[in-house]
């Protein structure tokens, strides 16, 4: 069992929280998320050119880089997180170039040493898996893939082959933080994905409120919230942890109890 599989094996759905590393007091922000009930942490590696992200996460990337965040800093945040939370899964999310800059083996080795459980690389599709996947698998790090509304039935097997950890369903064809998907389309997509894989399925993109999160948690194994948290980091800076705690607690409550309500 890995930290990811243990977490997703729990009877209740998981809350997956994303923030960008180096945007504000990262350690304090991460503490706030975990203490308020986040089950999985996605830590964004800042990149100058976040092509799949909307304005909120773009700005977070630039704030972080503007503050001088380096790859070494990101790995240090991960290492320190692992020391504080031995059991909470930690996933690095970002773009290919910072990950492959010193070679995929270097990155996989460093991430493994930092206690990272999985890596989501936005711009490495299955077709280019060679660029990073084999190095991650060799170090026991899960390459976590994305499925999207444009991933049709013919393509899905290719996405699933080599996917580990969980499958991240991007519920809107678009960038982060913009629109939210129609609940019915999410339900249909998750049901379709479940027929093809035993991997846990986490749904993200456009999820902002506890109500939305609860609705998604009724059908999915995990709910990913990013832009709404990142906006708090941007707006409140050093005072962000308290606000993050507030929103995360409400989201966690909604996600964790989503299926109980259904039964009641």
């Amino acid at each position: 069992m890995t930290r990811l599989s243990t977490t997703f094996a729990a009877p209740r759905p998981s809350l997956v929280c994303f923030i960008t590393a180096g945007d504000g007091d990262t350690a304090a922000n991460l503490d706030a998320l975990v203490e308020a009930g986040a089950d999985v942490i996605e830590l964004g590696m800042p990149f100058t050119d976040p092509m799949a992200d909307g304005p909120a996460i773009q700005s977070a990337n630039l704030r972080s880089l503007g503050a001088g965040t380096t790859t070494a800093d990101v790995l240090r945040y991960a290492t320190e997180f692992r020391a504080r939370y031995p059991d909470v899964p930690l996933v690095l999310m970002g773009y290919a170039n910072p990950m492959v800059r010193r070679g995929p083996e270097w990155f996989a080795e460093a991430a493994a040493a930092a206690g990272v459980d999985g890596v989501i690389c936005v711009d490495i599709p299955p077709e280019e898996d060679d660029a990073l996947g084999p190095a991650l698998r060799a170090k026991g790090i899960a390459p976590i893939r994305l499925a999207t509304p444009t991933t049709d039935a013919a393509r899905l097997p290719q996405v699933l082959a080599g996917s580990e950890g969980f499958l991240y369903y991007v519920s809107v064809a678009g960038i982060t933080g913009k629109q939210q998907a129609v609940q019915a389309s999410i339900e249909e997509a998750v049901a379709r994905l479940k027929q093809s894989t035993d991997l846990p399925i986490a749904v993200g993109f456009g999820v902002r409120t506890p109500e939305q999160a609860a609705a998604i948690a009724k059908v999915a194994d995990g709910v990913v919230v990013g832009s709404a948290l990142v906006e708090i980091c941007g707006e409140y800076g050093a005072a962000a942890p308290a606000k993050l705690r507030e929103l995360t607690a409400a989201l966690a409550q909604a996600v964790h109890s989503a299926r109980q309500e259904q039964v009641a």
């Binding site: 050119d49 799949a52 773009q58 170039n97 660029a131 444009t150």
Partner: protein, 404 residues
Amino acid sequence: MNTHLNSFRTQPDDRGHFGQFGGRYVAETLMPLVLDLEREYRKAQVDPAFQAQFDDLLEHYVGRPSPLYFAPRITEELGGAQVWFKRDELNHTGAHKINNCIGQILLAMRMGKTRIIAETGAGQHGVATATVCARFGLPCVIYMGAEDVKRQAPNVFRMKLLGAEVIPVTSGGATLKDAMNEGLRDWVANVHDTFYIIGTAAGPHPYPEMVRNFQSVIGKEARAQMLSRTGRLPDLLVACIGGGSNALGLFHPFLDDPSVKMLGVEAAGHGLDGDQHAASLLGGSPGVLHGNRTYLLQDEDGQITEGHSISAGLDYPGIGPEHAWLKESGRVDYTAVTDDEALEGFQLLCRTEGIIPALEPSHAIAAVAKVAPTMPKDSIVLMNLCGRGDKDIFTVAEKLGVEL
């Protein structure tokens, strides 16, 4: 396709790789579209009706073939090789960019797409895209860095006259790479109806190959023209490189002619020793950006750094993947020319031949001015004069200290 081993003209492979470069590094949302685009492009490639329509528009709308011109006075002034120009600056809209736009918009319509988007730096590709959209009655959105919108006001106005919506991009450094990011973001959010006309031989496969093939009309014409005019092939081809489309357009049809040497000219800005340049091949290192693996300007953590060039069309921190491969294979030589040298090249051509070049090919002129004198008088240098200078007179006036 013939795949004999000694050919330089059979790249990329079926995954879009040029050796270790190229590929399809895009988000999953875009991947099915990129695959669909490739399928449709393959069908169009073998459809004689598609080719006929492309040829017809190039002839009657763009004004091809462009002349092959022997330049006597610059030849005399440089005192070495004969200097010839491929006159793509005479194309409709004033640059080579339109060749590619014609091809891509025909493909877009074939695919039933109803909305066109593009990125632009100097505005030349934006103008060419707006032009073909007006010609075919399709709505057009152009992403342009807010900095470039300021630097290239005449082209912004041209695009608007042609009916395009110009969206200034303020993210990042607000220049060409940020405009390309925004183009990709738009595409990802409008996958059902939108076609992204990428302006250079970069981006995810099949763009680098497709743009090269559309631009290869330059080299095919030039090769036939040179043979019929002189009975021989040129000794050296020279072209400037932003993303690399005009250079590949000229070079590609000659790649398997071993006697023909080739020189790609990057922008050295204030000099290669500092960070104020846009020479990805000579001053960068391999990495992944905008859908392909290629040479990039980047720091040790893989963060992309901003290029600088006097020419807005060259200051892109990447380069088409085929050039990265051609460099590593040794088939093409690459050099870089500074802002100041390009300005001298600009003035040299104005003065000797009565042609006002764009600042992009002014870099190639500066390179020709360096190499032609070292070559014998019976040798031939052929340079791609890929754009005219109307758009640049304000920049040049400012650099020369002239108030307009």
